[in-house]
Structures are given as C-alpha cells and as structure tokens.
C-alpha cells in the first residue's frame, strides 16, 4: 500500500517546473491562436472585445457620414440620430411611446407564455394531446403574421386587442413547440427515479419534469420575447396612434430619416438590455449547470 502511495506521489514532486512552463505557454497562444477554431478567450476579453468592436463600428459609421459621401437624408450619422432621439424625448414623448410598446410586447409575451407552457408540456407528456394538436400548430406557425393583419382587424378592430393578438399569434405557436421540445428532452431516467421513490404523477411533473426543463424553457422564453419586438412594428405600423412602430412610421412619412433611425435604435437598445438582463437571471438561477 505504501509503495503504491510513493510511486503516485513522485510525479507530483516534479510538478512545479511543468506547471510553470504550462502557465507561460497559454500567453503566447492567446495572442497568436485567437482565431483557431473554438479557442477559449482569456478571462475578461469577451466583454472588452464586444464593447471595443461596437464602438469601432459606431465610430466608422460617424466617420463615413461626416465625410459627406452619403446624404444625411439617406444615411444620418450616429450623432444626428442621437440628437434626434433627444429631441423626440423632449418634444414627442418618445419614452412614453417606448413604454406603450414595451407593455404591448410584455402583455402579448406573457399571454403566449402562460398558454404555451401548459399546452406544450401536455403535448409531450401525453401522446394523445401531442398527436391531436401538433398538425394544427405546425400549420398555423407557418402562416406569415403580416398576412393575418386584415383578419385581425376584421376580428378585433384597430384597438389594443389587434396588436396583442398579432404579437401573440407570432409567438404562441412557435413557443408551444419549443416548450414541447424542452419537455421531450427531459431524461426518462429522472421521471422513473421519481416514480420509484414514491412520487405521484403530479409530483413528477412539478418537482422533476418542470425543474429539469426550466433552464431550456427560460432560454426559449428569452428568444420568443425577442420575436415579439419584430412583430410589434408590423402591428403598430398598421393600426396604431402610439408606440415605437407608430413613431417610426410617422417619421418616415416626412422623410425624417434620423427620427426613423432613432426609433429603430431605441428598439435595439431595449431589446439588448432585456436580453442581457434575462441572461443574467438565467446564469444566477441555474448556477448548477
């Protein structure tokens, strides 16, 4: 026994020089091999590169615009867009419009989620439900939302319901299938373990299946929320007197390109912020992954 322990301990004694050279190597590789397939980034480099590249793009854009190679009407500079945004905030209630849009997006998103989660879970959990619903859902999700705008107006007029309905339409059916997929991927072993320690069906669903699918579900909700913003513009362009889509469309009518772009940029900023927030929550909540 002790002889074994000795032979095992020997390589460890020789470790320090090996460790030192190993520490020296990655630094060289870090600079030369960043473009090698799947090379991990050194700590802290990711955010730095992301911010640096974004700033560089904006600067290049500003530079090109200032050179006068493009007309401001066609391609305004970032500073022009920013000042348009400031003007719109003070004179045109831009932030209120953004708030209205955000409420619409979240309203439709929550409605879609609240319905899609139980239905999606049921579709994978119970074969009958899946067999019954899948063809219909698969059909509807391929219908282009813009094509359904007239129908939505016939059904709901031009009030809030139409906008919520269009957003919901664009996300609900996709989400149901994503949820069903998350549920399907829950390992059968987890379910069977729970049954063999005495859990009943409801407990298996709640304590095991739902918990197991939760990280994937939250990710899919985050992605779906992004789609909502895409459909929002369609809904607000067609039938609205408020919201960012309305602002953008109104500005277009007078060819106020900086205003159009300011609206677009604001949507991008809201989207980016929401996405990062949800990612952060995901990391915090699912630390065990």
């Amino acid at each position: 026994m002790s002889a074994v322990a000795e032979t095992i301990s020997r390589p460890e004694a020789a470790a320090p020089p090996a460790a030192a050279s190993a520490a020296a190597r990655p630094r060289k590789r870090a600079t030369r091999g960043l473009l090698r397939l799947r090379t991990p980034l050194p700590r802290g480099w990711g955010p730095t590169i992301a911010v640096g590249a974004s700033v560089a793009i904006v600067l290049a854009w500003e530079f090109v615009a200032r050179l006068g190679l493009t007309t401001p009407l066609f391609f305004p500079s970032p500073t022009a867009i920013l000042s348009a945004m400031a003007r719109m905030i003070s004179d045109q209630h831009l932030l209120w419009h953004a708030w209205v849009s955000t409420l619409r997006v979240w309203g439709a998103f929550l409605l879609a989620a609240v319905l899609a989660i139980p239905i999606g879970v049921a579709m994978s959990g119970y074969r009958v439900v899946g067999a019954a619903l899948e063809p219909a859902i698969d059909f509807i999700r391929y219908l282009p939302v813009p094509a359904l705008v007239p129908l939505a107006i016939i059904w709901f007029g031009v009030g809030e319901e139409t906008k919520i309905f269009l957003l919901w339409l664009g996300t609900f059916f996709q989400l149901v299938l994503l949820v069903a997929d998350d549920m399907r991927r829950v390992p059968q072993e987890y379910v069977e373990i729970a049954y063999t320690v005495g859990a009943n069906e409801g407990q298996v669903l709640k304590d095991v299946a739902f918990r197991a699918m939760l990280p994937g579900l939250v990710d899919n909700l985050r992605i779906t929320l992004g789609w909502c913003w895409t459909y929002l513009i369609i809904a607000e362009i067609v039938a609205a007197d408020s919201g960012l889509g309305f602002v953008i469309w109104a500005a277009r009518r007078y060819m106020k390109t900086p205003e159009v772009m300011a609206g677009v940029v604001l949507i991008g900023v809201i989207g980016l912020a929401t996405d990062q927030l949800l990612r952060l929550i995901h990391r915090r909540a699912f630390r065990y992954l």
Binding site: P187, E189, Y190, E192, I193, A194, Y195, T196, V197, G198, A199, N200, Q203, V208, R211, A212, L214, F286, R287, Y288, L289
Partner: protein, 256 residues
C-alpha cells in the same frame, strides 16, 4: 425466504420477443443477485419489470408474495446516467424521496437523510451540486437517495459502467458493505464478469436473445460472504472468473 419472484414471465415489445421462454427466478431476502449477459439480451427489461416500469406480457412478478404493480418506494432504481438531479444539491438529492413520505416527521426525515448521506461518505459534499462532484460520487448520491426513500430492493442497471476502474472497485466494495450492513435485496445488472463475481451472492448468466438462463453461479459458496479487495487476487476468484467467462462466451454464441 423468497423476497422477489419471477413466475413464468415472458415479455415482447410488439412482435419482438425479448423473453420468450417463460422465465422463473426466486430471489431471497437480503440476497445480492447479479444479472450477467450479452448486451441486448433483456437484462434491463427484466429489471424494469421488477420496478414496475415495464409490464410482463404474461406471467407475474411477486414482491413478498404480492404481484408488483406501479412503481413505489420499496423498489428503488439506480441508473447508469442521469442518476441524480442536477438542480438539487447532494443533500437535497439524497433527501429527494423523503418529501413524499407522510409517515415520517420532518425531524425523522432530516435524521434519515443525514444518516444515508454519511453512509455513502458524502456528508462534507452536502451543499455541492452533482456537477461539482465526481461520477463516482453521483452514483453514491443515487444509492443513498434510494435507501433513504425506504427501498428494500435496489435495482441497479450497470450503475458503475461509466466509471474508471479505480472508482469502480471502490464503489463495489462500498456497495457490498452497505448491502451487508443494511440487509438489502439487490438486483444488479452488468456485463462485467469480475464485477458480477465480486458483488454477487448469486450470478445469473443469460443467453443472448431470446433470453433464458444458461447458468446460475452460487458465488457465496465459492467465495464466502466477505468481499475484500484481496479476494480479487485470490486463486478462487481467478478460477471462478475463468469458468464464468467460459459460460458467458458460450452464452453469447457467435456474437462475440
């Protein structure tokens, strides 16, 4: 005293027969039985039928004389992979089955969970997540969870298949110790001859599909009850191993 009994059991999936010849086997209380056989011969299927996760096509499986029904906590499963819940800590995993027991007070549950956590040597890892401990420890979590929930039959389907040789040996020794100490009935599936002989009181060797028993090896009478690592290097173990490999080869036929 018979604990578990297969009585004229057959099983087919649709038109595909897995166990065609009616299968009979009686397993004593506190017996450690190992199913050894070529892959695809139906070991997992037999085990799942004991657990109530699959139903026999005909015949009956009895636990303490009563036909087994839906899964319950008396028959605990330990799988090779996905054996512990990643979102629960080690301690929560071990205590998992206890929350479904209304016959115990919270106090009793806590004591019980702690006892089994300790039994498998994971006490100091209580607050770790399974992703932070080794594969061997994850299998120990599963064993402790099953015992804590109150299983008196452990159904283990190649539980150590994914572990390296050293961890395997260590867990085998521990499992055997726990089984002696807690007096559990264990049905263990493997296709590793050495593992089978080291663990078992009795090894049941299966033919390839359609499955039937080709041999039963009474390991207890050959190697005794006590299993230490030394026994593995002994003459008796070697002889038994050679014999068993011969049987397994013959059973697998031309598939090897």
């Amino acid at each position: 005293m018979t604990h578990l009994q297969f009585d004229q059991v057959t099983k087919s999936f649709g038109a595909v027969p897995v166990v065609e010849t009616p299968f009979n086997l009686a397993i004593d209380r506190h017996e450690f039985v190992v199913f050894l056989g070529p892959s695809g011969c139906g070991k997992t299927t037999l085990m799942r039928m004991i657990g109530g996760l699959d139903q026999p096509t005909s015949g009956e499986i009895r636990l303490e004389g009563e036909p087994v029904g839906a899964p319950d906590r008396r028959r605990g499963m330990v799988f090779q992979s996905y054996s512990s819940f990643p979102w629960l800590t080690v301690a929560q995993n071990v205590a998992f089955g206890l929350k479904y027991r209304n016959d115990l007070s919270e106090q009793e549950k806590a004591v019980r969970a702690e006892r089994y956590l300790d039994l498998v040597g994971l006490y100091e890892f209580s607050d770790h997540f399974p992703s932070q401990v080794s594969g061997g420890m994850r299998q120990r979590i599963a064993i402790a969870r099953t015992l804590a929930a109150g299983a008196d039959v452990l159904l283990m389907d190649e539980p150590f298949g994914a572990l390296d040789a050293l961890r395997r040996e260590q867990l085998q020794t521990e499992l055997r110790r726990i089984q002696r100490r807690d007096a559990k009935t264990i049905v263990f599936v493997t296709h590793d001859v050495e593992e089978a002989l080291f663990l078992a009181d009795r090894v049941v060797v299966f033919s390839k599909r359609p499955t039937r028993i080709v041999a039963e090896i009474d390991v207890r009478s050959r190697l005794g009850e006590e299993r230490s690592l030394e026994i593995r290097d002994g003459e008796d173990f070697f002889a038994l191993r050679r014999e068993t490999i011969g049987l397994v080869r013959a059973a697998a036929g031309d598939e090897l």
